[in-house]
């Protein structure tokens, strides 16, 4: 049996001729052995594929929309953004009140 160096020196015609030759038998103990580094790469690739598969499988399914009507959905969104605005306005009013107190303190210094 030829080794890898001998095979790499063969021309394309030689390889084609050998490939066509039915008298050449594949040895019974023939096994494709990946180089050591390739095996490690394949192991990492397989692990990543398994992790991705498990991750995708375990993702929560998308919930059902609360609203069928986009107008109602928009109204709910607007209301929610209004709540955010109220919350920020509350925070801003506290900052303003604190600034007034700081100004008073600075005035009497």
């Amino acid at each position: 049996m030829k080794n890898i160096d001998e095979i790499s020196r063969l021309s394309a015609d030689d390889l084609d001729r050998i490939g066509q030759d039915a008298s050449v038998q594949v040895p019974e103990d023939f096994r494709v052995r990946l180089p050591h580094r390739s095996r490690a790469v394949w192991a990492v690739a397989a692990s990543v594929a398994i992790l991705l598969g498990v991750g995708i499988w375990s993702l929560p399914k998308p919930p059902k929309d609360t609203f069928d009507d986009p107008y109602l959905a928009y109204a709910a969104l607007e209301q929610a953004l209004g709540r955010v605005g109220d919350a920020i306005a509350l925070g801003a009013s506290k900052v303003e009140a604190a600034e007034v107190e700081f100004d008073k303190i600075n005035y009497w210094k």
């Binding site: 990543v48 991750g55 993702l59 929560p60 399914k61 998308p62 919930p63 059902k64 929309d65 609360t66 609203f67 986009p70 107008y71 959905a73 928009y74 709910a76 969104l77 929610a80 953004l81 209004g82 709540r83 955010v84 605005g85 919350a87 920020i88 306005a89 509350l90 925070g91 801003a92 506290k94």
Partner: protein
């Protein structure tokens, strides 16, 4: 090269985890008794963006780019004390992972309101509001790729109104 792959995988997992937070919380709490729940999907946001009659181009703020960039909107609200405690603890645990940045916090007479964002200098990928008072716990989450400057303009406009 290996480091680059690891960084890319961690980045992808981190972004994906952010996107799953609102959905996972919604799935867990929305069907419980005493919980009010609202969910708007990215498909519905696309529909909202196409409504011709809705006024989305205000004088100062154009909502359309933000609405089209939204991928999910979740509200969970409950007056049930046990469920509220669980929801508050669950949200806080996710926020404490370090992906979110505290935008603002206000406390008054036992009432707590916190706003968080996750993303980078230009894009907000997740926006969360968590409030708690004597009777109610409310979680609100927005997922998407929202331009940060436009979201800030929108919030400032909401404050002015």
């Amino acid at each position: 090269m290996k480091k680059l792959y690891i960084i890319l995988i961690l980045l992808a997992v981190s972004i994906s985890a952010m996107a799953q937070d609102g959905r996972a919380l919604y799935t867990k709490y929305s069907d419980l008794p005493g919980v009010e729940a609202v969910y708007i999907s990215s498909a519905m946001f696309r529909l909202i963006g196409k409504i011709p009659d809705v006024e989305m181009n205000g004088e100062d703020v154009n909502l359309a780019p933000i609405i089209k960039a939204l991928k999910g909107f979740y509200i969970l609200s409950t007056e049930d004390q046990a469920t509220g405690n669980d929801l508050y603890a669950d949200v806080t645990k996710r926020l404490d992972r370090g992906e979110y940045e505290l935008l603002m916090e206000a406390k008054e007479d036992g009432e707590v309101m916190r706003l968080y964002t996750a993303g980078d200098d230009f894009t907000v990928r997740s926006f969360i509001m968590l409030t708690r008072d004597a009777t109610e716990v409310t979680f609100m989450g927005l997922d998407g790729d929202m331009p940060r400057d436009q979201l800030e303009d929108l919030i400032l406009k909401a404050v002015e109104d």
